[in-house]
């Protein structure tokens, strides 16, 4: 080992006696050397991933900072413009299995920053009580479950979600209904016309008027599915959500209801759900709203230093 080299001590320390941590620089110690830095945004339509080439041919050390999920704009999570060191994992755990994490990794070609699938989505659930589910089977009206399709004749269903976090006339990018199929009867597609209940804050289905006579949106979606029990199907409800949130009396935190009218489903083919075994914080069926295609901002530093050389 040679006894030559360069040392520079911090102000106030004698370079001949300074400890390693009192040195600003010592040729004995490797330092982190920046290869490249940059910033960008990750979008939903862009696959929720940023791929940044580094052209090093080996895995470099790196550092990533990102903004967090706008759903968590609270004192605890800071402002939307705050940057967090990666990985960021808010709300990953729990019975809902909602995954809002941002992760990053590097291989020999690229640095990757990935936003997990639930990031940015505002979820709303039923209260897991019978009054948030309604059913009408050729006339008789009941609450406690929801079936639709054809079951000994026409079957219509309704479901209600609370605490929709969208202000009056607030713009949004996507809105989905995620319908859990607890029961499937028969074989083939269930066909339905899906409407929103066109009210400011629709009541539980055992209060006020019956669900199926409440005013419905002029916008609707013709939809069908052949999925079976135990699956969750997705329905685009953006047009109807936009119509409801443009109502004069709409406000963030209100409830929305959804009507599924049979649309000539084959005999004895139906799907349904009830609040049995329901978690009140995340019912099996939900609706979700993505307010912007732009999900988050990132900044990164790629070093020349190699991981595991």
């Amino acid at each position: 080992m040679g006894d030559h080299g360069i040392k520079v001590s911090q102000p106030g320390f004698d370079v001949k006696t300074a400890t390693p941590s009192q040195l600003v620089f010592s040729s004995k110690y490797q330092t982190l050397k920046v290869k490249q830095q940059g910033s960008g945004v990750i979008t939903h339509d862009g696959g929720r991933t940023a791929t940044i080439p580094h052209n090093l041919g080996y895995v470099p050390m790196f550092l990533v900072h990102t903004t967090s999920d706008p759903v968590y704009e609270t004192d605890f999570w800071g402002d939307a413009s705050d940057f967090f060191i990666n990985p960021v994992s808010p709300g990953v755990f729990g019975a809902c299995n909602i995954d809002r994490a941002i992760i990053s990794w590097a291989d020999t070609a690229n640095l990757y920053i990935k936003v997990r699938p639930d990031f940015g989505w505002y979820y709303s659930y039923t209260r897991c009580v019978g009054a948030d589910y309604a059913d009408e089977s050729d006339g008789p009206y009941t609450t406690g479950y929801m079936y639709f399709g054809n079951w000994w004749g026409r079957e219509d269903g309704a479901i209600r979600f609370t605490n929709i976090r969208l202000n009056k006339n607030e713009s949004f990018y996507k809105a989905d209904l995620l319908l859990y199929i607890a029961v499937k009867g028969g074989a083939g597609d269930v066909k339905a016309k899906v409407y929103g209940i066109n009210e400011d804050n629709t009541l539980p289905f055992d209060e006020g008027s019956e669900a199926f006579v409440r005013g419905k949106t002029t916008n609707f979606r013709t939809w069908q599915t052949g999925e079976g029990a135990g699956t969750t199907v997705q329905i685009d409800i953006a047009d109807m959500v936009g119509q409801i949130t443009s109502r004069a009396g709409w406000g963030s935190g209100n409830a929305m209801g959804w009507l599924f009218f049979d649309n000539e489903t084959a005999e004895d083919v139906y799907i349904g759900e009830a609040p049995a075994s329901c978690n009140p914080y995340c019912s099996p069926s939900s609706m979700r709203i993505l307010k912007s295609n732009t999900l988050m901002d990132y900044k990164y530093t790629i070093y020349l230093n190699e991981v595991n050389p």
Partner: protein, 128 residues
């Protein structure tokens, strides 16, 4: 401490050392650089098991050092910064590093048996 009027500055290409701001300097003897401990400040350790286990690495420094750590699972070639979980269940692995005045601790966890390799970097500089 009175300001010093001596020292070393090195600027990035294209900047005048007499006028360049700190962000345009590659080196300034008034500003500390994170220095990787030598000769054992970098290295990799591996563990193949399920559940949580902790690997302890003595650093021999007189400070509680700053550190970095990245890890890969089953030799995937994808290196994640600690503390990442590949999915919400954590089934593929997670690494939670910490340090004190004597050691770097790498707590490794996985819900399944997986080969987790951790690459760590310990600095001679304190983490505060």
């Amino acid at each position: 401490m009175p300001p010093v009027d001596y020292g070393i500055k090195v600027t990035k290409d294209g900047y005048d050392v007499a006028t360049a701001g700190i962000l345009d300097q590659s080196f300034n003897s008034q500003k500390n650089c994170l220095k990787i401990a030598a000769p054992d400040g970098e290295g990799s350790v591996s563990s193949t098991a399920s559940g949580y286990r902790t690997i302890e690495i003595e650093h021999g420094l007189d400070v509680t050092p700053a550190f970095f750590a990245w890890f890969q699972v089953d030799n995937s070639g994808k290196w994640y910064p600690a503390y990442t979980q590949e999915d919400y269940s954590g089934k593929n692995g997670v690494v939670n590093p910490r340090s004190d005045g004597t050691k770097l601790y790498l707590q490794i966890g996985s819900n399944v048996s997986a080969a987790i390799e951790v690459y760590f970097v310990i600095f001679v500089d304190p983490g505060d």
